[in-house]
Symmetry: C2
Subunit: 354 residues, 2 copies
């Protein structure tokens, strides 16, 4: 029997628990130890999951019984924590976004180039949803015909509650507000379904909030393929997660009940995918009927599946869908949209990617 991936959790805030609730159920992963600079946070996390703790990040990285770290420190601390792990010979997975600056993404890329045996992935879990897998299959099979546009929306009420001083309200720490925190998931989904974004335009602003950061954003994109995308990322409404795909033969409508986003065991059960096609096609445009049908969605586990792919990559040399290149592109699209929002012009993603 293959041994388990021996994992250490670094950064013990809210999302570390959401992830641990999921991966501690995997028979491919063993949580060995954890670290946060705050001793109380370490004790609390270790007590909940029955793992050890380390008193410094250096001590954790020096352990021989740790294969890999899962990084859930704040976004602007990702690069230093990741590079340190890579240089210590540890494999790394990190919560999305990989970084909030291109400089930080480059630091990670450079460290990986120097350590080609290190496995690295970014946890863009959304593309692991069963509905995304099914949509990709329907597009690739030709059933949707030729796709012209995609509309994605990932929104929640977070902006209504952010207090001044919170990092989410600071444009330097969360560029574009919900674009960095929510939109980046959907940008990865667009990349997964249709490919890379070429140029963007964004309108956005703070609305119904006490902070200066944008809480409402709408972005349109041209993709490298010539197809187009609309991305809504909004922090001023009840939770939304939807993806609509428009093709010459069919349209796809995917929605997820955001209430269940963090419970990845059941997320897929609270999603629906519909396909809209012609029921009758005649020469008379006033005499055609459309039909809309439910599509069965394979039940996946978006948080668990990404961690097990990572475990397989480390233990068995399996491939990783989302490497530094894909994850950096997602951030470049966010930063291009934010630049567009502030400058009121089209921004080419290549301006950001260099």
């Amino acid at each position: 029997m293959t041994r388990k991936l021996r994992l250490a959790a670094v950064g013990l805030g809210r999302w570390a628990y959401i992830q641990a609730d999921s991966y501690t159920k995997s028979d491919k992963i063993e949580l060995v130890t954890c670290f946060s600079r705050n001793p109380e946070k370490r004790q609390k996390f270790a007590a909940k999951y029955g793992c050890q703790t380390d008193e410094s990040y250096e001590a954790l990285l020096a352990r021989e019984d740790v294969d890999a770290v899962i990084v859930t420190v704040p976004n602007d601390a990702h690069a230093d924590v990741i590079v340190q792990a890579i240089e210590a010979g540890k494999h790394v997975c990190v919560e999305k976004p990989i970084s909030i600056t291109m400089e930080d993404a480059k630091k990670i890329e450079d460290a990986l180039a120097k350590h080609p045996d290190i496995k690295f992935t970014v946890l863009h879990s959304a593309r692991r949803l069963g509905g995304l897998r099914k949509m990709k299959e329907l597009i690739d099979s030709g059933r949707v015909g030729q796709v012209s546009t995609i509309e994605v929306n990932f929104s929640n009420e977070r902006g209504l509650e952010i207090k001044p001083g919170n990092w989410r309200g600071n444009p330097a720490q969360a560029p574009g507000g919900p674009l960095t925190q929510l939109g980046v998931h959907q940008i990865d989904n667009i990349q997964y379904l249709l490919g890379r974004v070429k140029r963007v335009f964004c309108f956005g602003k703070p609305m119904y909030t006490e902070v200066e950061n944008a809480t409402v954003t709408q972005t349109i994109c041209e993709l490298e393929s010539g197809q187009q995308a609309y991305i809504a990322a909004n922090w001023a409404c009840p939770g939304v997660f939807s993806i609509n795909v428009f093709g010459t033969k069919a349209n796809l409508y995917y929605t997820l009940d955001f209430s269940w986003w963090s419970n990845s065991d059941v997320t897929d059960k609270y999603t629906t995918l519909k396909i809209q096609e012609f029921a009758t096609m005649t020469d008379d445009p006033d005499n055609r009927e459309l039909k809309i049908s439910d599509v069965e969605i394979p039940i996946c586990n978006h948080l668990l599946d990404e961690m097990e792919e990572f475990a397989d990559a480390v233990l068995e040399g399996g491939s990783l869908e989302i490497g530094v290149k894909e994850a950096t592109h997602n951030v470049a699209v966010v930063l291009a949209a934010v630049k567009s929002m502030y400058e009121g012009r089209i921004v080419e993603v290549s301006e950001i990617e260099g």
Copy 2:
């Protein structure tokens, strides 16, 4: 008993039949006569609806038994036909869009200014749908909270079938393709629900078509209120008509089965409106549940209702929702989006409106 509005139909293409199928059922309207330059078209229309014909537009306008004309000639002929009717003292209703240039809209405005007793309206039927009436009520009542964004989509497969030479494929006759023909309905809906558009940005292009005109467009807007809008108008996919509204307390999702768009007796029966609200609200963002409920939609008749409002305005002095000002704004937003698409920059609607 009040007498009926004595109506003449001018321009006898496909849409003249769709409208006549509806207004000939009204007990407020009597179809008296019709005119097209093509005698066969006149005879066919008159035979179907049991009305008279006139051999020239001048003869029709000279009749004393005609109160008003319904204009369904091609968009680029609207202004001349309308101005002639106004100068002959006839009330006028015209199919959307009012025009495809600001010059034509100005001609109509000037003629109306000289004839203040003439009743004039543009048949933006979509805002008469029961779902639109209900959405406006839900927004105005406060149940949706403060609205930040609206997303509208009106699309169909028309672009896949346009042959070179057809006016729809000509950017001068149908600026922005589906933006002029479909998007303008949704721009009027945005105006109805949230107010006027201030500035726009559009990506669009011909896709999957033999013609040079754009068949795929995506536009984002800032409204005068500061709220934002996304407008999809696409001629490369099965029919779509949807409106989503995002507010601090609730989101609204409206869809219409486009198969039934032209059968206005039943259109509303093939629509759905859902409201998404919080079922539970706690301090913990991972422990809130959303609920989504069907909203009952009043059954209206979008094509009949607009014509009966017009009849009431002429016969009883009733008011008209969509005058030259509202209709001209809708066209200005289309033309601003088209300009943005070609020039790759934000266009202020005031640049178009002057």
